[in-house]
Structure formats: C-alpha cells, structure tokens
C-alpha cells in the first residue's frame, strides 16, 4: 500500500508492504506535518522562525535543542561544510528532512513493520523487501534530464539521499565561499545504513564541490555517486556492489 502527500513543500511517499499496515499512514503523515510546522523557515509561526526572531533559548523546545545540537555535531563532522547559519539566521532544513525520515522509519520498525520505504523529496529510507519480495530498486535521476534514470541501485535496508540543484533552485552553498555558485557538481547521491547520515553527508559533500566524493570515500559504510557538469560520474570504490545495471 502506497500513499503520497504534499508536506514541507515536497511530495512525501510511504509504501508499506506488510499487511494490516494501513492504520500507520495517517500517523506518519501527521508526524511530517508536525515537523513542518516546527522547522519550516517559510512559516512565520514555526518555532525556528520564532527563534530567528529572537525567542530566548530558555523557551526552545527540547526537541529543537536536540536538532540544533545535531546540526552543530554535523558541522564538526564535516569540517564546517555543513552549516545551518546564514546571515545570522538558522535553517536546519538540510538536516531535518533526513532526520524526520529516519524517525518515521523508526516509528514503523517499533511497530514491527519490516518491509517499507519512506521518501521525502528524494531522501529515501528503505527496509526489507518490495511487494514482489525483492530488494528495493532505486533509480538515480539524470541531473541533465529529469525524465531519465542513469543508475539503478538495489538495496534491502539503507538510506539514500541526493543533493544537487533542485527544481526549487540551488539550495546548498559553500559556507566558506557563500558567493560562489556550486556549478561543477550537478548531483551527489549517498548510500548508507540510514537516511539521517546519508542526507547530512550528501549535503556537506555537495557543498565541498568536487572533493565531496572523496569525503564520502573516506567514511566507512557509505558510498557515493557524483555527477559533474561534463556528464561524468565519479563514484566510490564500494559503490558498484549496489549497482544493478544489466
């Protein structure tokens, strides 16, 4: 059973293969709506907007403190390339999407649902098998042609995230050279054990430009596939084990 809703300005799709799972869809979509209402910088009354307008730290929710703590930890893990502050405002959206998908997946796992995927704007957590009892197949979109797939990866339980120049416009910048457009790298896909890490590493690696794929190579258990403006894909040494081209 599969359902899609537009939340956080993007389609969120959940497919649950296990039987009697229909009751969980509403809970999960409600969870994403809550996340949106707390972390959206586009909503004036969201907690993050209130913080950016001077809400004192003593009034921050404990979840917000946790998320901003995770952002700070990620900044350190990625040599400063993951940075949520811009012009004195905080925008944790680069972390929240993957974090929320990971949390939603955990909510299902706790209910002993073991075959599903959750996808929010290209960030994916899969678990178990698909409806045909096969591992999940994930296509990497061609950054030069929206309608095409350039790679098919096969995974059973993994998180997959892609950073790039999205329809909504360039949403990642190099924090050390914020004025310089990131033009060379068109998309960077990261596969790892869970979407929370895959997403934050993809975001940071994209901000690093072409050296980003080297950063992914250096992280154990994570693989990456980077497409540059010349139509060349550069991928990490262990990436091929997920590839199912032929």
């Amino acid at each position: 059973m599969k359902q899609t809703e537009l939340i956080m300005g993007m389609p969120i799709t959940i497919e649950i293969v296990d039987r009697r799972a229909s009751k969980y869809f509403e809970d999960l979509f409600n969870y994403f709506r809550e996340v949106d209402s707390r972390y959206s910088t586009y909503k004036k009354d969201s907690e993050i907007s209130q913080i950016n307008n001077g809400l004192p730290k003593s009034k921050w929710s404990s979840e917000m403190k946790t998320v901003l703590g995770l952002c700070e930890q990620t900044r350190k893990d990625t040599f400063g390339y993951f940075n949520i502050s811009s012009n004195g405002k905080l925008d944790p959206s680069g972390l929240v999407k993957g974090w929320a998908v990971a949390k939603a997946a955990k909510m299902l796992s706790v209910k002993r649902i073991s075959n599903f995927y959750i996808e929010a704007g290209g960030d994916i957590q899969v678990k178990g098998k698909d409806v045909n009892n096969k591992p999940w197949t994930i296509g990497i979109r061609n950054p030069f042609n929206f309608d095409e797939i350039i790679k098919t990866i096969t995974v059973s339980s993994a998180g997959v995230a892609t950073s790039g120049t999205y329809i909504r416009g360039q949403h990642i910048y190099n924090p050390f050279y914020p004025e310089t457009a990131l033009e060379r790298v068109k998309s960077l896909t990261v596969i790892g054990p869970d979407i929370y890490d895959a997403d934050r590493y993809a975001t940071a690696a994209f901000a690093m430009g072409e050296q980003g794929i080297g950063f992914i190579e250096s992280i154990p258990a994570f693989e990456g596939y980077m497409v540059t403006a010349d139509g060349i894909a550069t991928y990490t040494s262990g990436f091929e084990r997920y590839v199912n081209d032929v």
């Binding site: 960030d123 994930i138 950054p143 790679k151 098919t152 010349d230 081209d245």
Partner: protein, 151 residues
C-alpha cells in the same frame, strides 16, 4: 569477484547486442573517459574490455562533437571509436573550474572510479535525484556519434 566481472561482461555484451538490434542510433554502451584538460583527473576504470562486442555501427576514428552552450559554459566532446566501439569520450571543452574550489581529496582519489552517465530504461520502485535543464553533454556526444555512423 571473478564471477561478478564475468557476469557484468556477459550483461554488457548482451546489452550492447540488444541495443544495436533495437536502435539504429544507440547510445554508447561502455565508454572509458579521460579529461584532456585536467591533469589531476583520475584515469578511468570503467570495465571497458568485454571481448569483442558485436557492434560495427561506428567507423573507427576520433570524432569531435558540436560545441554546446550550457548555461554554465561550453561543452564539447570527442568520441574515439575503435573496432566499431566507443573506447573513449574526451572533453575538448568544459566549464572552467570554480577558482575557489578545493581540489579533490588526494588521498581518497585513487580509489574513485569514473564513467560517462547514460540513460537507462530500468523499472525502479523509487527515484532519488536532483534536476537541471542542460543537455549540452548529451547533444555534443550525439553529434560526435552521428559523424561516426556507418554510411
């Protein structure tokens, strides 16, 4: 490991064969890539030797593609055909490096691999990706290959 490569090789040959049968203007099946303007770029490790592919649709030689204007700069490729197969796609022109970009992590680079991207027709459950409008690379390569076509 050996099994894996043999499997890939068989698959690639089959794909090459079926692609040739299906389309008169098929895309390259496997191409290795070197970046002519970029000394520090890694050499390709795409699995390009798969025996003799049954394709003879292209004449041997090196063909320059058209210069295609992408919003980020010009892209021009040349395709090298040997024994009727594409053996390399070289970049004659591509957008200049971002002057501020830090070069690729030298310690990790030797492990990285490269290939030209290629559209696939696989059916998938889910799609991950970013999008962009330019098709300059594809257009330039298509132009080079149209010149290489057997009369």
């Amino acid at each position: 490991m050996k099994k894996y490569f043999i499997g890939i090789a068989i698959g690639v040959i089959f794909l090459a064969y079926s692609t040739v049968l299906r389309h008169q203007h098929s895309e390259p099946v496997v191409a290795s890539v070197s970046m002519s303007q970029n000394n520090s770029a890694v050499k390709t490790t795409a699995p390009s030797t798969v025996g003799t592919a049954p394709s003879t649709q292209y004449k041997d030689g090196t063909y320059k593609g058209s210069v295609e204007n992408a919003f980020y700069g010009n892209v021009q490729v040349s395709a090298v055909i040997q024994n009727g197969r594409i053996t390399a796609v070289n970049f004659i022109q591509f957008p200049n490096e971002n002057p501020n970009s830090i070069y690729v992590n030298q310690t990790a680079m030797p492990y990285l691999k490269q290939e030209t991207i290629q559209a696939q027709s696989s059916k998938v459950s889910i799609v991950t990706g970013a999008t962009l409008t330019s098709q300059a690379f594809i257009q330039s390569l298509a132009n080079a290959l149209s010149q290489a076509k057997q009369g």
